[in-house]
């Protein structure tokens, strides 16, 4: 064979950049209710079509349709709505608080609130999630005290993480929320190990891991899935595909070539692709995967197809790398608005109650911020400097003891 034609290097680029018309024309959005729901015990080879479909329950009119409809009670739906709304309100407020210089960093999960909220409620108290920084609605749904969150964000004297950690990198063991860290991806495999431990002990707890679509490119992703597959770990592994990773679009992570759910096929695992802006679809997929896990059928990979409506964090301006109004063109809508509409059309909610709830939550958040501000914002209050030297090991060794002394504390 002769080598003759010159090669060229392909670098993926998104459909639209600042100044361009936002374009989601390349997206194929199946109708709600269209995707089949196989039995949880179906063999993997009969489920290989699922990664290329999209599990959707809420249709454009706000009705819950199709085989994945989890038929949730209105109470549960309102609980979910509340958690999502609280997350949104909290995000808005704390983002402003950061602008005021009261903390060093903040990240919103706007547009993605359905994911953590539905999963938090769908799973049991003893289960553990291994979060990313963008699933704070998990904590909101489990009523983690707002004051603890704000104190952590301020790194003040009452910070439950003792001033050691960047804002929002929470840890909340009693709320099924594993310790976050700045490194993306490196806890994905911990979810698998934790789940394997539960299985090893003959317990009944399952784990849930999150990873961003951008971060699926890390070796950690592959290693976690390999272990999950080999040992049939009772774990649900979730890719939150919000289309963006800071400034790079999902094509830079492989999204140009296939879906993220299709990565399940590499491990012989079922892969669900789910409308992440559809509270009911998120719930149903989670329930399905949990049932598999609890029945020793092993792991499931779920891609939540969603959109990061805000900037990546307080450190970037998204209009520098994507059309300013791209979020408004996202074809799967806003998860909060969609759940609200569903409840209203079911006669279980109305605009007044929604306004009242918004007011209530706004007050709650305000009160928590105020209370935390009274303790102190970043730099104005902090835990005892002794805390810097504690917790390096289970017992301090001579180095930190000497160094503490050197500081005179």
């Amino acid at each position: 064979m002769t080598n003759s034609k010159p090669l060229h290097l392909h670098v993926p680029a998104p459909a639209a950049r600042p100044g361009d018309e936002p374009s989601f024309k390349h997206l194929v959005v199946p109708k709600a209710g269209e995707t089949r729901r196989p039995d949880v015990a179906a063999p993997e080879e009969e489920m290989r079509d699922l990664p290329y479909k999209l599990v959707r329950v809420l249709d454009d009119a706000g009705n819950a349709v199709g085989p994945w409809n989890p038929n949730l009670s209105p109470d549960v739906l309102r609980q979910g709505l509340r958690a999502m709304l609280l997350t949104r309100v909290f995000d808005e407020r704390l983002f402003r608080v950061h602008r005021q210089g009261k903390t060093s960093f903040y990240m919103k999960s706007t547009g993605e609130e359905a994911i953590g909220a539905a999963q938090s409620l769908a799973l049991s108290a003893g289960d553990m999630c291994f979060p990313t920084y963008r699933v704070m609605s998990w904590l909101m749904a489990r009523e983690y005290p707002l004051i603890d969150m704000v104190n952590q964000i301020f790194s003040n004297e009452r910070d439950p993480l003792k001033g050691r950690q960047l804002p929002i990198l929470f840890s909340a063991r009693d709320y099924g929320f594993y310790s976050l860290s700045g490194n993306v991806g490196s806890r994905f495999g911990h979810a698998v190990g934790w789940a394997m431990a539960s299985a090893y002990k003959g317990d009944d707890k399952i784990a849930l891991g999150y990873i961003g679509e951008g971060t699926t490119a890390e070796g950690d992703f592959h290693e976690a899935l390999t272990f999950a597959s080999v040992y049939k770990a009772p774990v649900i592994l979730c890719v939150t595909n919000n289309q963006w990773a800071i400034s790079s679009y999902s094509g830079i992570a492989g999204g140009e070539a296939t879906t993220f759910a299709a990565k399940a096929l590499a491990y012989g695992l079922p892969g669900l692709r789910v409308d992440g802006n559809d509270f009911l679809a998120v719930w149903a997929a989670t329930q399905w995967a949990a049932e598999r896990a609890r029945n020793n059928l092993g792991a499931t990979l779920i891609e939540f197809f969603t959109y990061r409506a805000a900037g990546h964090s307080t450190s970037d301006d998204p209009t520098k790398y994507r059309p300013a109004d791209e979020a408004e063109h996202w074809p799967l809508g806003d998860p909060l608005a969609r759940l609200k509409e569903h409840l209203i059309s079911a006669g279980e909610w109305d605009e007044d109650r929604h306004q009242a709830l918004t007011d209530e939550l706004t007050e709650k958040v305000k009160a928590a911020v105020k209370e935390a501000e009274a303790v102190g914002t970043l730099g104005k209050s902090k835990p005892s400097v002794r805390e810097m030297f504690e917790g390096v090991f289970s017992e301090p060794d001579w180095r930190v003891i000497e160094q503490r002394r050197e500081m005179g504390i």
């Binding site: 680029a13 060093s104 490119a217 800071i246 030297f389």
Partner: protein
């Protein structure tokens, strides 16, 4: 000649090299259209084209691995790792592959790659946007580790690094990207504008690897520092009132051992300053080398001022950070004995 801060100087180095050498290309997370989270690659994609400066998947191991393959082909890739804390997933690639390729292949293959990465603290970045990992590279045979402390050096050292046939970890002290921060976090922020080292030639020039700079001449004690700590050292020396000689090492591999030894033999005292936590840090190597070569000239114990032996703690940034006061204290201690 133009007035540049460190980001502009680094950007200029990359621009010059993209212009001069078609084998130079840049990739890393967010470096393409966006120009990097610290803007070091700003406008380079626009100017040189998408295949010369492009985004990479979030996969530090993949980035370095890909760069090594490109280097083996004959390119001179410049890879950015967004924060030095995130080099660790690529540590095996750097150590087992980049550093060893030339040696083990009997010289058939080598990896002329430059791995740029912002490092160090002082920006309230918390544990994983603040660390200083230079020691874990200094120990690795086959890798060079370069750390500039000002715009002029940054550009000249980066060009030398890209032109070098060896794999290089190029650590950029992010706290001084925009100004020569001296550790006084409670004072007015300074910009580079009025610093002589911000006068940077627009074209090609190099600063050689392995040559320390004498930032301040002095008689009583030698201070060894690099990166942001050079500015902290200046302030600490001034505050101590001691006539210290300050060496900016500029690269820790290769190390300018001759300059270090000459200075310590002259002053008879030595204090080492770095941001990384002390135990097992690069200061240990410096201390050992100085002690081995200058033992009979030493009038007092070699001091080490460094981060504490704890992870980098968000709220306690300024308690952890080895600022000028801590250096001044160590200098006084060195003089007392």
């Amino acid at each position: 000649m133009a007035n540049m801060n460190m980001i502009q100087a680094l950007n200029s180095a990359l621009d010059v090299m993209l212009e001069r050498d078609p084998n130079v290309l840049i990739f890393g997370e967010d470096v393409g259209y966006f120009g990097g989270v610290f803007r070091v690659t700003d406008k380079l994609q626009e100017k040189h084209g998408i295949t010369r400066c492009f985004d990479a998947p979030i996969s530090e191991g993949g980035i370095i691995s890909t760069a090594i393959g490109m280097g083996a082909y004959g390119l001179r890739p410049v890879a950015e790792i967004q924060f030095a804390d995130y080099i660790l997933p690529a540590y095996d690639q750097l150590v087992s592959e980049a550093a060893r390729l030339r040696y083990r292949s009997g010289g058939e293959f080598w990896a002329p790659i430059t791995v740029r990465s912002p490092y160090g603290g002082g920006i309230f970045g918390g544990q994983t946007h603040s660390q200083s990992p230079e020691a874990i590279f200094a120990h690795i045979t086959g890798i060079k580790t370069v750390i500039p402390s000002n715009p002029y050096d940054a550009k000249g050292l980066l060009i030398s690094s890209i032109e070098s046939d060896d794999p290089i970890v190029f650590l950029e002290p992010k706290r001084i990207y925009n100004g020569p921060f001296d550790g006084h976090h409670d004072r007015q922020i300074k910009s580079w504008a009025n610093e002589p080292s911000a006068d940077v030639p627009e074209g090609h020039y190099t600063v050689p690897l392995g040559k320390a700079a004498t930032v301040r001449e002095g008689h009583d004690v030698t201070v060894l520092a690099y990166g942001a700590m050079v500015h902290v050292a200046k302030a600490g020396i001034e505050e101590s009132g001691i006539d210290a000689e300050l060496l900016d090492l500029r690269s820790i591999v290769p190390l300018d051992i001759d300059a270090i030894v000459a200075s310590v033999k002259k002053t008879g005292r030595c204090v080492i300053l770095h941001e990384a936590s002390r135990y097992g840090g690069f200061g240990g190597e410096l201390s050992a080398l100085v002690q081995e070569r200058c033992f009979y000239h030493l009038k007092s114990p070699i001091g080490r001022v460094a981060g504490w032996d704890t992870p980098y703690p968000h709220a306690f940034e300024w308690d952890y950070f080895p600022g000028p006061a801590r250096l001044a204290k160590a200098l006084r201690q060195a003089m007392q004995n």
